[in-house]
């Protein structure tokens, strides 16, 4: 149905990495159903890359190893002390003067981007809690203001009329 000439090796490669344009995805799937050679090629690439990751997996298990102290000193530079990146923007005396302050925000974003799924979930929970706390505080404030204005309205008839006019 689809000639293999319509699908280049480059497109197949991008498909393997999930980088295919959405408009071409269905066509590629159809192509792979009808072209066993390209389907085989894709499988071969996928298996080879699994083997590649398996070959070099020991390095991940070894972790930082002797480089740990050096890595920690970079951690100190990029994410100094506290965990909340925003807090560092407000006057952090330990930072060298020449370092741009907005850099700290960038580092913070990086921290969020890097953080694993569990941390992301944690961040979400904290954000949701903060949002709820804010909402409750706002409602409380509104109720307070409302109550206060009602009390003042009771004692000052002028305020009552002005409120009615709204």
């Amino acid at each position: 149905m689809f000639s293999s000439k319509l699908v280049s090796a480059a497109e197949l490669s991008a498909f393997l990495d999930g980088e295919t344009d959405p408009s071409r995805r269905a066509l590629l799937r159809e192509h792979l159903r009808t072209s066993p050679a390209d389907a085989q090629r894709l499988t071969r690439w996928r298996q080879r890359e699994e083997a590649l990751r398996a070959t070099f997996a020991p390095a991940i298990r070894e972790g930082a190893g002797p480089m740990a102290p050096l890595a920690r000193s970079l951690d100190q530079k990029v994410f100094p002390r506290d965990r909340r990146p925003e807090a560092r923007v407000l006057g952090e005396s330990s930072r060298p003067a020449e370092e741009p302050i907005r850099g700290a925000v960038g580092g913070g974003i990086g921290a969020l981007a890097i953080a694993g799924k569990r941390q992301r979930r944690h961040t979400l929970i904290v954000a949701a809690a903060a949002f709820l706390a804010g909402a409750v505080a706002m409602l409380a404030a509104i109720a307070l203001i409302d109550g206060a204005s009602r009390i003042t309205a009771l004692y000052t008839p002028a305020a009552q009329t002005s409120q009615d006019s709204h």
């Binding site: 980088e19 390095a59 050096l70 951690d75 990146p85």
Partner: protein
């Protein structure tokens, strides 16, 4: 905990360096990782980058490329054991830019956009390099299997790829 992100990333840096330096003596990879972190420590842009992972891999590739230029171009070494051609030998036969692009995507599992940022090349250039690397590795294994069947004097196997 957002603490010790670099420390946890270092294992990944070491893995990448070993694959990138597949053709070099052991120890070269960890030297590269050390240089990378040191570069990131002194670089002003380290904390300006939105993503420390992208930043570190960028430094690593810069360092490795510079080292590559100092040394004579590596000869695409034939696999040590022709019966067992391995991925390290295939990687060593790739051009530096192709190997880097391929490893960023296939080993480190960066998306193309991030990998392109790491390499400071446009998206399409990155995509092309990855595809070229894959085809070149195919050629390497094809050539290796042809050579091994030739040395063993067996007729071409039934699994030979016909183009």
């Amino acid at each position: 905990m957002k603490r010790n992100i670099v420390e946890r990333l270092t294992g990944r840096l070491r893995r990448f360096a070993r694959a990138l330096h597949a053709d070099q003596p052991p120890g070269a990879a960890d030297d590269l990782v050390r240089e990378t972190i040191e570069a990131a420590l002194t670089a002003r842009d380290t904390v300006e980058r939105a993503d420390i992972r992208i930043c570190l891999f960028h430094h690593m590739i810069d360092k490795a490329r510079a080292a590559q230029k100092d040394k004579p171009a590596p000869v695409a070494a034939p696999p040590a054991d022709p019966d067992m051609p391995d991925i390290s030998a295939a990687l060593a036969g790739l051009r530096f830019e192709e190997r880097t692009a391929y490893l960023l995507v296939a080993l480190e599992e960066f998306g193309y956009a991030d990998a392109a940022t790491v390499m400071r090349v446009p998206y399409d250039v990155l995509a092309t390099r990855v595809a070229q690397a894959r085809m070149r590795i195919d050629d390497f294994f094809e050539e290796a299997s042809r050579r091994s069947s030739a040395t063993r004097g067996t007729p071409p196997g039934h699994l030979r790829i016909v183009k």
